[in-house]
Amino acid sequence: MKLSPQIESLAQFLAGKRLLLSEIPFQQDVITEALAQNVIEKVSGLHENGNSLKCKRCGNQDRSLFGVHHCARCEQDCSYCRHCLQLGKISSCQQLYSWSGPPTSHGNLQDTLKWQGELSPGQKQASKSVIQAIIDQTELLVWAVCGAGKTEVLFHGLERAFATGKRVLIATPRTDVVKELYPRIQASFTQVSITALYGGSKIRHSNAQLVLATTHQTMRFYKAFDVVIVDEVDAFPFSYDESLQYAVDHAKKPIATTILLSATPSAQLVKKRSLNIVKIPKRYHGFPLPVPRFQWIGNWKKQVKKSQLPPKIHHWIQTYFAKKKLLLLFVPSVSTLATISQILIKNSIEHASVHAADPNRHEAVQAFRRKNISLMVTTTILERGVTFPGVQVAVLGSEDDVFTEAALVQISGRVGRKKETPTGDIVFFHYGVTKAMRAAQAHIEQMNREGGFS
C-alpha cells in the first residue's frame, strides 16, 4: 500500500515511539486516516484491572504513585500516573499512539569510527565481546573497574552496529552521564546522527541513529532499537530498578542486543543466567586500584553536635593541605553536610560543599576542578562519573547505611584515575566497621588480584 505524503511524515515522526496525542504535532484528520489504514495503533495509557493500576509508559504499579480527580474531559473520576508526570500526564482517558505500519530504516554507514586511541589489553578483550554481542544479539555485562575506560570499549561495537544499519540507544539513570558522554561520542562518530535527551534538554523527539537518554526520556521509545546499552546500571537512586528495566525493555526491538555497563553490579544481576559477563579488572593506565584503609574516630556525631571537627579528620585535612593536594570528603547526609560546613568555617578551613539539590553544584565542581578550592565536602552525589586529577578521598561516617558496598567502591574509585597521578589516599573514618565497608575493601582487593597484582 502506498502511503500519502502526510502519513509518510507521520511515520518518520512516530516510528519507534509511543506517545500521547498531545505530543504528536499532526492534525487530527491525519491521525484518523492513519488509524483507519491500520498504520498506527493506540492503547489506553493506564491498564486498570480491578483495584490495580499500571502505567503503560513507565510501568509504575505503586498505588501511592497514582492520583485521581474528577476529570473535565471524561467527566468521571479519572486516575493518572504521578511517576512519569514530567513527560506529560497520562490519565485513564488518554491513549498512547505508536507506529505499526511498515518499518522505517537507517542506512548502513561504513567506517564511521574517527577515534584513533589505543585500547588496553583488558579493554581490547571486552571490546571483542561487545562486537560479538552485537552480532549475536545477546545480553552482555561489561564489569569494568572504576577508571577502566568503559566508553572506549563500546566504540568498535558501535561502528559495527552502524555498518549494519542498526539503531542504538545508550541509556543511563544520570543526566550528568548523558551530558558527559554526548560530546565524546559525537567527536568519535562524526557522520552518525546522534541526539542527547535528558530532562531540561530542548530536544524531545529524535529519529537519530544513536540516542543517548536518561531513564525518563527512554520511556517515550517503543520497539525502536537494535542495540541497547545501559550505563551505570547500579547508579543511585535508581539502581537497575524496575522503571529503567521497563523503559529499556520497551524501547528495544523484540530481538535486540543488550549491553550493561557497571563497576559494581548487584549480586542479583551477576547471577542472571542468560547474561554473558566480561570483566576488566585493571585500570587503563595499568596501575592497581587504591585500597581503602579504615580509621576509627569514635562517636563523631556527638563531636559534630558540639561543633567540633573529629581530630583525626582535622589532622587528615591539615596533612594534605600542607602537601597542596585536592581533597574530597564524603558525608552521609545533607544535614551533616551543612553542620560540617559550619564547623569548617568556624575553623577557617576554606572549602566548598555540594549536594544533589544544590543549584550551584556545577559551579562548585568547576571551581574544585580548577583547584580554586582545595577541599570539597559532598554527599554521595559525587560518588561516580567524576574525575579530579590527584585527588585524596575520605569518607566521614562510612558506617552509615547510605554507604553501601557499591557506593564505597565507587567513592574509592575517584582516587588515582589519571596516569600522571595513579595513586592516592582513600580513608573510611568510621564509628564501627560495617559489612559494606569490608565488602568494598574485599571487592577492590579481589579486582586487583584479578588484574595480576598481589
Binding site: 501511592s64 504513585l65 480527580h69 473535565a72 474531559r73 508526570l85 500526564k89
Partner: protein, 232 residues
C-alpha cells in the same frame, strides 16, 4: 511508611500523641519538604498579606506594600487578600507541578489549611472558585480552585472566564495594563446581591486577576469581595 506528596520519597512520621489521637492529621509530606514551606509571618501588608520584613523600604508605604498603595490610588475594589505561604522557589515548583503538569492530588495538602483560614477570617463569606476558560479546563482536566475547595465548600461558579491567555506567561506591566480588558463575566443564574464573597485561588502575584474577578462580582451587587490564596 508514607510517600511524600512533594518529592515522592518515602519517610516515617514523627510519632506523637497528637497524631495518634487524630488531633493532628497525617503529614502527607516529608520533614525535608515541610521545612521548605515557609508560613507568612511577622509584619505583612495589611492589604495583601505580603511579608513586609523581606521587602525593601522602597517597595513599602507604611503598613502597605507599594503595589497595594497603587491599587488604592486607582480606587480599590478588593477588601483584602490573605495567603498562607511565601511564594518561594520550592512552592513555585510544587504549584507548577500541581497546575501545569496536572498533579491534581497536590490540592489535598492545602484544602484543610485553606478551610482553617476560611473559618478564622471569612465567616459569612461565600467562597468562589476562580474560573478557567473552557479550553483551558479541557486541556488541564480540572479547575485548581475547585479542587482546593474540596471537602470544605461547594465550588459554585459565579463567574465565567472567556479569554484564555496564560497569566503566568506575561510580565507584570502587561498584566496590570490589561486590567481594563476584563476576561471575566458574570454567570447569569447566580445571585451575589448583598453578599460578601471570597475568591479562592492558588497564587496572588500582582493581584490583577482577583481584582478583575472582584469587579465583576461587585458590579452585580456583592458587598465585599476578598481573596484567599495558598501563596503570596
Amino acid at each position: 511508611m508514607n510517600r511524600c506528596l512533594a518529592c515522592h520519597g518515602t519517610y516515617y512520621d514523627q510519632p506523637g500523641w497528637r497524631r495518634l489521637l487524630m488531633i493532628e492529621q497525617l503529614s502527607q509530606i516529608c520533614q525535608t519538604c515541610e521545612s521548605k514551606l515557609v508560613l507568612i509571618s511577622g509584619r505583612r501588608c495589611i492589604k495583601c498579606s505580603r511579608s513586609l520584613d523581606q521587602l525593601s523600604q522602597t517597595y513599602r508605604k507604611g503598613e502597605q506594600c507599594l503595589d497595594c498603595w497603587r491599587w488604592d490610588q486607582q480606587g480599590e475594589i478588593l477588601e483584602k487578600n490573605l495567603s498562607i505561604y511565601e511564594y518561594n522557589a520550592f512552592l513555585k515548583e510544587w504549584l507548577a507541578t500541581f497546575k501545569f503538569r496536572g498533579d491534581a492530588i497536590i490540592a489535598s495538602f492545602f484544602t484543610n489549611k485553606l478551610a482553617n483560614m476560611y473559618e478564622k477570617h471569612f465567616q459569612g463569606y461565600v467562597p468562589v472558585p476562580m474560573p478557567l476558560s473552557n479550553e483551558r479546563l479541557l486541556a488541564r482536566g480540572f479547575n485548581q480552585s475547585s479542587l482546593l475547595m474540596k471537602g470544605w465548600a461547594d465550588a459554585i461558579d459565579s463567574l465565567v472566564r472567556t479569554e484564555g491567555e496564560k497569566q503566568s506567561k506575561k510580565n507584570r506591566k502587561q498584566r496590570i495594563r490589561q486590567f481594563k480588558q476584563n476576561p471575566f463575566s458574570f454567570k447569569s443564574e447566580s445571585d451575589v446581591k448583598g453578599k460578601n464573597m471570597v475568591l479562592i485561588d492558588d497564587i496572588y502575584t500582582t493581584g490583577t486577576t482577583v481584582r478583575q474577578a472582584a469587579r465583576v462580582l461587585q458590579e452585580h451587587g456583592a458587598t465585599k469581595v476578598a481573596s484567599l490564596t495558598i501563596a503570596r
